[in-house]
């Protein structure tokens, strides 16, 4: 069947309407002025056709503009076509040479570039000469022979020969910048990056060497924000042409989260990847091996299964570098569910086999891998609330996988001491003392010269009150590492406990041993002693023990005590002495009732200082454990009086000390928290807008829980003051607030949550408010804050409660925009306060 030919209908192009040349010229000039030379060229082309003699120059001028733009925008082919056209219409060649050179360079045609540049390099202007010289070097043209010879010497590491080759290039030569560039390159390879940088900085901007010098910066580690071309250049410069082809693509894919694509790209072109060599490929292998550590949970969920697909399902997997990479990443991430464990059991032998095939068998490697798994398996303490003490400990059963892995590590390589040390810490966490002691005995036999083992053994002995044995272990540990601060601190603890034990036993021989221990302690006071470790505190403790143990040594005790006065403030010394009497006096012959120091005088307000109150409190926090939970009343009373007296004369400058003090008191029990609350309110009077103190007042319940607007205001104030600590405290407080926890992002806070948060405080205050005389509450709205407090105290309300009620009234007035008291419904302190519930989510600047 004959093919039916389609009739091709040729559309006739509409003939260009003859236009008025003046109109065309005006329009073209206008387009040129608007920055559109391409459009303008069309107009000039029409004019050139009409009258070549008249419009030639202008047409050529505009076309050259279009060529320049095409070259600068990366369209060298278009530029080449236009250049050819200009040549055809008989344009002067000197006008075209610079652009012809540029186009040839861009098109990767060194021969053509050299041809165009040969004349230009002699006759062009400065920029053109440089460009021509670059083209000649790229073309390895004869004119650039000296530069090419120098490059050849550079690549062979022949520095002197390179220098000699460059000598022929004069300062005014168009190749002068190449001399500078090659000197910079040589400086880089001769490990003198400063000289290289100095040379590169002096290169004429826009020249080829100036552009290429950026690649050296990538090799120096300045890789941020570099484009693909620069990556390729750096790879070529490091002698890795295959990497130059693959790395830019892999980098792009990785950054667009196509992780497995990035991995696959690197396996193209028969690249030696993955491998364990010391090369960029080995480094990339290690990168992919550890990549999961930098990923988010969701990214890992994609990455690990994709990696596992590299191992063929069902078939035998040949142990090698890829299986080693896959198994090590997958096993690290597979801690948890039972189904994952079963995969883990399949991967483990492959992992060990692969490693053995690559680097030989190693019992230590197997032990360490078990150890690594144990670290992942060991459950962490879960902190319930960042603000309040206490944590939810994991159950003993949750430790079993870690214990099994550690035992496997010990079996695999008994000489690997980290595994038994870790097992010891697990046993301690579980309070399995007998197993811990048994393990320690084995460890001291197996690792008699290990500092870590001796240290742990010493600590365990001190915990068991076996001071002599513990100090012996610790002494040996110190011989192995004389500067370890942990060992030294443990020795000081042992000596102190030993001294106290001897003094408590009584008898001259024991006292002599105790004194010996104290002498040793005094000789080893650290440079930065703890709350009671300085020389003064040691002397006070010694003097108290002397007093209590043997009356005949009282002069010595007094001497020691007097000596202590040098570095301990008197009030702190008095307090410490009293507490030591309380601690050691109870079981002694003389007993606490006869000790004059116990009866601490009430401090005079003039003498009490906040810094000393803080020191005393820190001391107390450390010493409290000595009382087995039953704090002696005189001491407690004295501390309270002292802290109150110190807080009585607070100044604005004491803010830092107050914050330290109340932060320390936060976990110290109800008594201390009440005291801290009072101190906070006092300090707040000095600066009502202080964001950190406000936050502490909310935490301690001295102020009603804040509205989102108040929180936002506190944040704004903290930002204004540049108070980062306050910002951090507010952020943590906001996390703790129930309404914040119950809320999803963007969701308004539920009313119930706000009410629940406030319910506790309202419940306490409800009774006070209900019990007020009729009209008093409304009258309180008329008073200032301080007047309100005084009025409430006169009405029989406790000062703290009065402060809170006054604050609440202030808050309500602020929220209602100063509404008249009559408009406020009686009985509910929170009802009808719109802004409190409807505030937007807190916008914290972190």
């Amino acid at each position: 069947m004959a093919k039916r030919k389609k009739r091709r209908i040729k559309r006739r192009k509409p003939a260009e309407a003859p236009a008025n040349p003046e109109v065309v010229l005006r329009r073209a000039e206008g387009q040129l002025a608007e920055g559109n030379p391409k459009r303008a060229r069309e107009g000039f082309r029409r004019l050139f056709k009409l009258d070549p003699d008249c419009y030639r120059d202008r047409y050529v001028e505009v076309t050259l503009l279009v060529i320049e733009r095409a070259l600068s925008e990366g369209r060298p082919k278009e530029a080449r076509q236009l250049l050819n056209h200009l040549e055809e219409i008989g344009t002067e060649p000197s006008q075209l040479r610079a652009l012809q050179t540029k186009a040839a360079v861009e098109l990767g045609e060194p021969g053509a570039a050299a041809e165009a540049a040969a004349e230009l390099v002699e006759s062009g202007d400065e920029a053109e000469r440089i460009e021509a010289a670059d083209a000649l070097v790229l073309a390895r043209a004869e004119q650039a022979g000296a530069v090419c010879e120098a490059i050849s010497h550079l690549c062979r590491g022949e520095w002197d020969e390179m220098k000699a080759a460059l000598q022929g290039i004069g300062r005014r030569s168009p190749f002068a910048h190449w001399r500078l560039f090659l000197r910079g390159c040589a400086a880089y390879y001769r490990a003198d990056p400063r000289e290289a940088e100095r040379c590169f900085r002096r290169l004429p901007p826009g020249s080829l060497p100036a552009r290429k010098s950026g690649a050296f910066k990538v090799l120096e580690g300045d890789w941020q924000g570099v484009d693909e071309r620069r990556i390729t250049e750096a790879c070529l410069l490091s002698g890795e042409p295959v990497l130059a082809k693959l790395l830019p693509a892999a980098q792009g894919r990785w950054l667009s989260k196509r992780f497995m694509d990035a991995y696959r790209v690197l396996k193209r072109e028969r690249a030696p990847f993955p491998c364990l060599e010391v090369s960029p490929w080995g480094q990339l292998t290690r990168f992919f091996q550890l990549a999961d550590m930098e990923m988010t949970g969701r990214e890992k969920d994609v990455w690990i299964p994709a990696l596992l697909k590299l191992l063929p399902l069902g078939g035998r997997v040949e142990p090698g570098c890829e299986s080693y990479l896959v198994c090590s990443a997958a096993l690290r991430e597979m801690v948890g569910g039972w189904e994952e464990r079963s995969i883990g059991e399949l991967l483990w032998p492959l992992y060990v086999d692969s490693r053995e095939r690559l680097l030989g068998s190693s019992a230590r490697f197997v032990a360490m891998s078990h150890f690594a798994r144990a670290l992942h398996e060991e459950p962490e303490e879960f902190i319930v609330n960042p603000f309040w003490p206490g944590s939810m400990s994991p159950s003993p059963a949750e430790f079993e996988p870690a214990i099994r892995a550690l035992k496997a590590a010990i079996d695999a390589d008994p000489s690997f001491q980290d595994a038994p040390l870790k097992l010891l810490s697990v046993y301690r966490r579980l309070r399995r003392r007998s197993e811990a002691n048994r393990l320690l005995d084995q460890m001291t036999k197996r690792f008699p010269d290990s500092k870590e083992v001796l240290f742990e053994a010493g600590r365990a002995c001190l915990d068991r009150k076996a001071h002599a044995k513990g100090l012996k272990y610790l002494g040996r540990a110190r011989e192995l590492d004389p500067v370890d601060p942990g060992i030294r601190a443990e020795i000081r603890r042992g000596l102190r406990e030993k001294a106290v034990a001897h003094f408590r036993k009584g008898g001259e021989a024991q006292l002599a041993k105790g004194r010996g221990a104290f002498e040793e302690l005094l000789a080893s006071v650290p440079h930065h002693p703890g709350p009671d470790e300085s020389r003064g505190f040691l002397l006070i403790q010694w003097s108290v023990l002397e007093e209590l143990a043997n009356g005949s040594e009282a002069p010595l005790a007094r001497e020691k005590y007097a000596e202590s006065a040098s570095d301990v403030p008197p009030d702190v010394a008095q307090f410490y002495r009293a507490v030591q009497h309380e601690v050691f006096g109870a079981g002694s012959r003389r007993g606490r009732s006869t000790s004059p120091a116990v009866r601490l005088p009430a401090p005079s307000p003039r003498e009490a200082e906040l810094s000393q109150a803080l020191q005393i409190f820190k001391l107390w926090m450390k010493l409290e454990k000595d009382f087995d939970g039953a704090a002696p009343i005189p001491v407690m009373f004295w501390i309270e009086q002292y802290a109150r007296a110190a807080a009585r004369k607070l100044r604005r400058e004491d803010r830092g000390l107050v914050l330290q003090l109340v932060t320390q008191m936060r976990h110290a029990g109800r008594f201390w928290e009440d005291l801290a609350g009072e101190i906070i309110l006092k300090q707040l009077k000095k600066d009502r807008r202080d964001p950190h103190l406000q936050c502490m007042a909310w935490i301690y319940g001295q102020r009603p829980p804040p509205t989102p607007a108040q929180l936002q205001e506190a944040v704004a104030e903290a930002v204004r003051r540049g108070d980062r600590d306050a910002l951090e405290a507010i952020r943590r407080f906001e996390e703790m607030l129930p309404q914040a926890r119950a809320r999803r992002p963007g969701e308004p806070p539920p009313e119930e949550a706000v009410l629940d948060a406030d319910a506790g405080l309202d419940g306490v205050l409800e009774e006070e408010i209900e019990g007020m005389p009729e009209g008093m509450l409304d009258a309180l709205f008329e008073f200032s804050h301080d007047e309100r407090v005084e009025e409430l105290i006169e009405a029989g309300v406790d000062r703290r409660q009065a402060e809170i009620i006054a604050d609440m009234i202030e808050t309500l007035l602020e929220e209602c925009g100063g509404a008249p008291p009559g408009s406020r419904p009686r009985g509910g302190t929170r009802s009808g306060s719109g802004p409190r519930r409807g505030g937007s989510q807190l916008d914290l600047p972190f």
């Binding site: 390879y189 890789w223 480094q283 290690r286």
Partner: protein, 100 residues
Amino acid sequence: MHPYRTLNVPFDADTETVRKAYLAAIRRYPPEREPERFRLISEAFAAIATEDDRLKREIGLAGNASDRFDSPLEAVAAYWRADLEPEPPGEDDFHAFLRA
């Protein structure tokens, strides 16, 4: 950091090889003349001085902070930076670099 590259030893080098490489490197770059390089060498040696150090690094138990990178380029750049004596590329590679 890439301690093997800095000390110029293979990945399966033993303790003695690493120690010898370290001594040679600090002799070449003594602290009084090359403090920065000496610091790099010391850090590299501390990272792989013993078999345990090398294995911990290999397994991911140690050296993680300096070994974790956000992208392949960052990892390779760290390798390049660890090179105390970079060698110039071949002549053809250098010209390819100029043409790239």
